[in-house]
Symmetry: C2
Amino acid sequence: MKKTIAVLPGDGIGPEVVGSALRVLDQLAEQFNHQFDYTFADIGGCAVDQHENPLPDQTLDVCRQSDAIILGAVGGPKWDQLAPEMRPEKGLLKLRKELQLFANLRPVTCFESLLDASPLKPERIKGVDFIIVRELTGGIYFGEPRERKGEGSDELAIDTLTYTRHEIERIVRKGFELAQVRRGKVTSVDKANVLESSRLWREVVERVAADYPDVSYEHMLVDNAAMQLIRQPAYFDVVVTENMFGDILSDEASMLTGSLGMLPSASLSAVGPSLYEPIHGSAPDIAGTNKANPLATISSVAMLLKYEFGLEEEARVLDEAVSAVLESGVRTADLAKEGEAQASTDEVTDEVIKQ
Amino acid sequence: MKKTIAVLPGDGIGPEVVGSALRVLDQLAEQFNHQFDYTFADIGGCAVDQHENPLPDQTLDVCRQSDAIILGAVGGPKWDQLAPEMRPEKGLLKLRKELQLFANLRPVTCFESLLDASPLKPERIKGVDFIIVRELTGGIYFGEPRERKGEGSDELAIDTLTYTRHEIERIVRKGFELAQVRRGKVTSVDKANVLESSRLWREVVERVAADYPDVSYEHMLVDNAAMQLIRQPAYFDVVVTENMFGDILSDEASMLTGSLGMLPSASLSAVGPSLYEPIHGSAPDIAGTNKANPLATISSVAMLLKYEFGLEEEARVLDEAVSAVLESGVRTADLAKEGEAQASTDEVTDEVIKQ
Ligand SMILES: CC(C)[C@H](C(=O)O)[C@@H](O)C(=O)O
Ligand SMILES: CC(C)[C@H](C(=O)O)[C@@H](O)C(=O)O
């Protein structure tokens, strides 16, 4: 198989973890006789520095012309004081919108070998294996108007949360489709007792559900979901929700298994190539120190191989290598137990390649 | 001291837990020589049933004429299919708005004797003692427009998140004031990398902070806050945030200590009497079975005595009685360990009175 991949390392530890993932991908390509061609492009703070634009046109072009996209992370204190339009995050938000990356998939799985690292008691997280399906191009992230009005103590700030039936339907369908190949259970999260958009959301879920008689589903209020994720995380299979709720709940969920540095994500496009990135941020405090955990990015590459290129076998091999490394005890600082040796980014990468 | 209290038992277990709290309050009144006069009124589902209105005018009048308000809980499946305007929650939202209950205080404390009941490892929650200060009468709960437009797959639902500088300032001040009498640390939670209202929020926090040089403060993004609450809950002192974020984070936080049935809340008014209620819901599944945990409502009464009537000593006695009961092992089903005897609502109440 011959494919092109746009590579956007971004800021902070982005370049390091992406570098690791590409090394692993190269090895896999050799092993399975594929050819992956990378084209690098800038996004986020480094793009602001070089092009005065957190998402230069050429980056968009590179992405559009590729078969898939790998992203590291964006942002850092260096760019925090810039105007909203120039901030690194804006580059990411614009990329999502331009490429119609409407479905953000965030699997949360419990690695047996990391039970200790979790803030939760082992019996609560044993067997946790769910996926959060977050809408990524609508809702309050993009609704208009978003503005300031008036002056003095009456000065008013406005944000707008909008969803069309179409936008809701495509993300909800994605949730039901995933449930079909998983354990057949969808939890749709909303705030229908308060929000008009959530009431429309519920209507759409009811309608879509009728097309998937083999999938069971339920509605859950977002406040309750925030509780249940802690109380009984193993209860969930597929959680589908709107943009902002998905942002909050998926970050909450990422903490459950104590493996933030482990969790991959995919952002699927409605029209073109999809994007794969670790869910952790740019961690500016450890950037350049060879300490970052590359496993989330490596697992994101596994998602890419499976979802984008249909390479199930290759993805499985990669996932197994990651598990094996964890079990071998070679761990970066974020996962190492107290007193245990801390491996570097490179060492962990070598270990994955070996496995 | 002679005071009047509006009592709104509400639905589900509301009447039981409020009944318990009043028995305790009566005992305390006798002991300390106070006179508390109760006026009962309907809210929520029971008000819909009796007056076809989840918040009848007479209930509002009773509240306005009282020195404080005690609420049980509202809602239940019986009323879930009603039109939005007739739903029990609408009664609560309207009450908040009408009485300008702008500041919802939710303390989260770890009871040593309940360490076992928490989903988190004991070392993570030991010493947890923070308070969430949630804005309660603004934001996306009340912003206009909130409507549906268009048809077919383009049908659009709209909600609006608005905040004025004034609304933000009064809640942020409340947070800083509380920090002054606590450990002097405010964490302001927003989503300033996306929301215009959060950027105004940050500006206001900066300005207000200047008036409290003895309090340290920081900004935290809501997604990160959802993580840190699990990762290091003992880190927090005062968390101040807007309405919807506060809804989600405070429910998440309520799970940390494994004592949802224990947690009280106060909703302070800008103009008149304030409202005190347990943070748990109406639990229709156990309503009427004498199984509900009355301690959250009893602790809410302790907050009432302290914040509303300035009765510090009485509040302390009550809080100590609650702790003592927990230690004595007399526990309702939600807290009892496996195999342990489960006490009824009445038994726990008797035990508090005894203590
Ligand atoms: C950087 C930020 C705008 C972004 C979001 O809120 O979507 C991030 O938190 C994420 O979840 O990918
Ligand atoms: C019942 C509901 C409208 C309410 C809210 O979201 O404010 C509840 O969840 C709460 O937190 O008091």
